[in-house]
Amino acid sequence: MGGIGEPMKKTSRRRSAAIIGTTAAAAMLLAACGSSSTTKSTSSSSTSSTATKVKGGTAYFAEAPGASPNYIFPLTPSANFSVDNTSQFQILMYRPLYFFGVGNKAEINPSLSVANPPVYSNNNKTVTITLKKYKWSDGETLTSRDVIFWMNLLKANKTAWAAYVPGDFPDNVVSYSAPNASTVVFQLNKSYSPTWFTYNELSQITPLPMAWDRTSLSQPAPSPTAPNLPDTTTAGAQAVYKFLNGQASDLSTYATSPIWSVVDGPWKLSSFTTAGKAVFVPNPSYTGPVKPSLSQFVELPFSQAQSEFNVLRAGNSAITYGYLPVTDLSQKPYVESIGYKVEPWIDLGFTYWVENYNNPTYGPVFQQLYFRQALQHLVDQPAWMSSFLKGYAVPSYSPVPLAPANPFADANSKTNPYPYSVSAAKNLLTSHGWKMVNGVMTCESPGTSATQCGKGVTKGLALNLNLQYASGNAFATQEMDAYQSAAKQAGINISLSSATFNTVITNAVPCKPTQASCKWEMENWVGGWVYSPDYYPTGGELFGAGSGANYGSYSSAEANKLIAATHTSSSPQAALNAYQNFMVQQLPVIYQPSPDYAISLISNKLGGVTQNPYLNLTPETWYFTK
């Protein structure tokens, strides 16, 4: 349970259980440390027991249960788009153009970004970006060509990118060019809100080293200035993507690959097991701010929150930064006594599970609003939060998160239009042509009128649904058991099964009804979604038609219109309100309580830790104290 631990899902990044991250500028960091509860920070000289910073040491970070890193290439597909891959693995080695999260604040971090803030001109139709001075570990300079390389790959392989939304990035970029080695200019197809474009579109860019611009390992790394590199043509860029994707699928070569060892981030991978244990060492040629103080940073995989806690509780510093399962809250005094501080890690996200609108059998049922309302009426959010999550959660009534405190959520997102009620769920079904037959609701009256089952629902179809959820957290089992029982009373027979987070997010991918991969009905990776790389919570990546993270293939013209309005409107909050109010009522997914990402347990000997609301991990700011 632990609250956290569960993963979100896919694309935007699905969260899993987790951990922390981040940092900001060094100055910000110090300020944050000084104000946070336990860290004996270097900055506050007023602290009575001033701890001395020690250089070196190995910090052990516990990965979320069942959610180990399994994809290293930053251009990540849907099936691997998890926090554990992007925010807590790739980002240590490959820095995004723009870094998000300042301390525990959900905003852009100019200090850790590879580029200076974008400059919008020409009525917000031209974006000019200048790069800071960074170097790759192979000695090459990070230049505008590396951004162009990403754009070329993305443009030619956009459907492979989990954050791709048709019509949005990179479709909304008419042209991009590099007038000099440190400048990139984007021409947009119309004027967009600069906040949205920076937070949700430019945020998707990770400059890639030109050493990757090849199609086989036997080729030598190309010269960055060579003309006619393969990525400059569409076919060539597709071949490069195919090669890199193949390399990323070979987990056993991560630490030794000549490809993946070219990094611009503060860390280099020194060893990696296919089970997900990753050992990082500082990148000696890192040129950005905040160089690592630790001599090693290790991420450890666990199948269950409980096994993580057993290891942590056994002492001997096997885990420096772990988490407390919600089931073991009674152990809080004990873990404090063995030298850990307890700090909930709250991310800007919401939690839900997806139904597959394209499932050949039940897709037409999921498309009926009354049916989704019935499903939502069976989720008892207040009871789940108090009984199973012990209060370490906030409710989710819309895709706009309620925590951490933010200016985005409006009043509608804070009230529950579909409170727990088995009878309401039952009435919705019986008033739409369903009848209880042997304890299971069965469609008796197919058709499209207001009192019939709805378009595409066949007579005699019984509501026997499968729901798979991520294993490893006891609270998730409790929630799903409760849901199954409630649904049974309403005549909906739900077969539960559990699998690892990584399996669940691989199953829950957008599909067409004719595909074999479209047999899934409902998938719950328990972690929901953290808004990253769509840092401004407008939902395009989640619910836009054809988007990679629209796992259930939700499709609504009205939703598309409202989402598009948030990208261009001159009054952004009004547009965001219209969007969230629609989503509150329409239930594109089934909302469930959002647990804190994790109840983090941080060793008292570890300083410099802040918990990034986007779940980005920045161990380079950590240090041990004496």
Binding site: M1, Q306, R313, P325, T327, D328, S330, Q331, Y334, A383, S387, F388, S471, A474, T477, Q478, M480, D481, A482, Q484, S485, K488, Q489, S495, L496, S497, S498, A499
Partner: protein, 334 residues
């Protein structure tokens, strides 16, 4: 000599052979061997005193079995467990499938063994879990024993290339870790009672096949087997009517142990999260769920299913031991 004796016992118990094959060789031994089965015992008093057994071989076996105190304990335990699981729910009513918010309640009125993390009655779930565990254990032991016995008997009887191929298949399967096969199958398919029976059977028949094959190798050279062949008995008839019945001792003992084994495998799968899909119960899954609360002192989630698993496995092992003692002539009292 000893194996011959067993052949005589079984065969004479079935009134098949009236003429012993050892008669010409050793009339004294023959008399001694025949004594327990003679309808009028005591015609001659053998060296070493009167035999205490009388009546059919099966009666002797049963008597020998119940002379074993652990055997009686095993049977009593098993009867109690069966009553608990199958008759218990008739007298103790509880809803074992509907989750409630009365989670992890300690034992008290209404819930003699408390409630589980999903608010269901633990005692009731132990009963229904026991039904599934026992059914799966017993049926999969039966299935695996039947497959193993046929496989082993055919392999041993034909010998040569057939034996080599069949036994190498067994060797190969034995070389694959059981837990790997099980987890693989359970991951692909949705666990149900039927699937669990099939998967556990698939990995459990190998031992039986080896044992029966070893036994068959010695049986097939016996004179009475040759006699069947000479009299024109077909291969199938020889295997089914003569070889397999004579391996019955080994088979029954093996079957008993494999029930215990199957229940342990089921508990292991449940513990690893591959047990029956909720809300169905099995003891391994219950134990696994309880382990999440090991630091909270919720003993009612851990000890009851754990103890039941141990008791069931012990019961079958005691029974198996006692059966072996009763069936193995070497260990049989005289």
């Amino acid at each position: 000599m000893r194996p011959l004796t067993r052949a005589c016992v079984i065969e004479s118990g079935r009134n098949r052979f009236t003429v012993s094959i050892t008669e010409d060789l050793n009339p004294e031994l023959e008399r001694e061997l025949a004594a327990p089965f003679a309808s009028t015992p005591g015609a001659s008093v053998p060296e070493g005193g009167d035999v205490t057994g009388s009546g059919s071989a099966w009666r002797l076996i049963v008597r020998s079995f119940f002379d074993n105190k652990l055997g009686i304990l095993g049977v009593s335990l098993l009867v109690l467990l069966l009553l608990f699981s199958f008759v218990g729910p008739i007298f103790y009513h509880s809803d074992t499938t509907i989750a409630t918010y009365n989670i992890n309640l300690p034992p008290g009125p209404g819930h003699p063994l408390g409630t589980d993390p999903s608010g269901r009655d633990v005692l009731g779930r132990l009963m229904t879990g026991g039904q599934d565990s026992l059914i799966i254990g017993i049926v999969s032991a039966l299935v695996s024993t039947i497959i193993g016995t046929l496989w082993g008997a055919i392999s041993g009887f034909f010998g040569g290339a057939v034996d080599t191929v069949m036994m190498r298949i067994v060797d190969v399967l034995l070389a694959i870790p059981t837990i790997f096969i099980l987890l693989y199958l359970e991951t692909i398919y949705h666990p149900t009672v039927l699937l669990l029976i099939i998967t556990i059977s698939v990995v459990s028949w190998l031992t039986a096949a080896r044992l029966v094959r070893g036994e068959t190798l010695s049986l097939r050279t016996r004179e009475y087997v040759r006699a069947v062949r000479i009299m024109g008995g077909g291969r199938f008839r020889t295997i089914v009517r003569h070889i397999i019945p004579n391996t019955i001792g080994v088979v029954v003992v093996q079957a008993t142990f494999s029930v215990a084994n199957a229940i342990l495998i089921l508990a292991t799968l449940g513990f690893l999260g591959f047990g029956l899909a909720p809300p169905a119960a099995d003891w391994g899954s219950m134990l696994s769920g309880g382990v999440n609360y090991i630091y909270d002192g919720y003993w009612w989630l851990i000890y009851p299913p754990g103890i039941l698993i141990v008791l069931t496995v012990l019961a079958f092992n005691f029974i198996g031991d006692a059966m072996r003692d009763a069936l193995e002539v070497r260990l049989q009292r005289r």
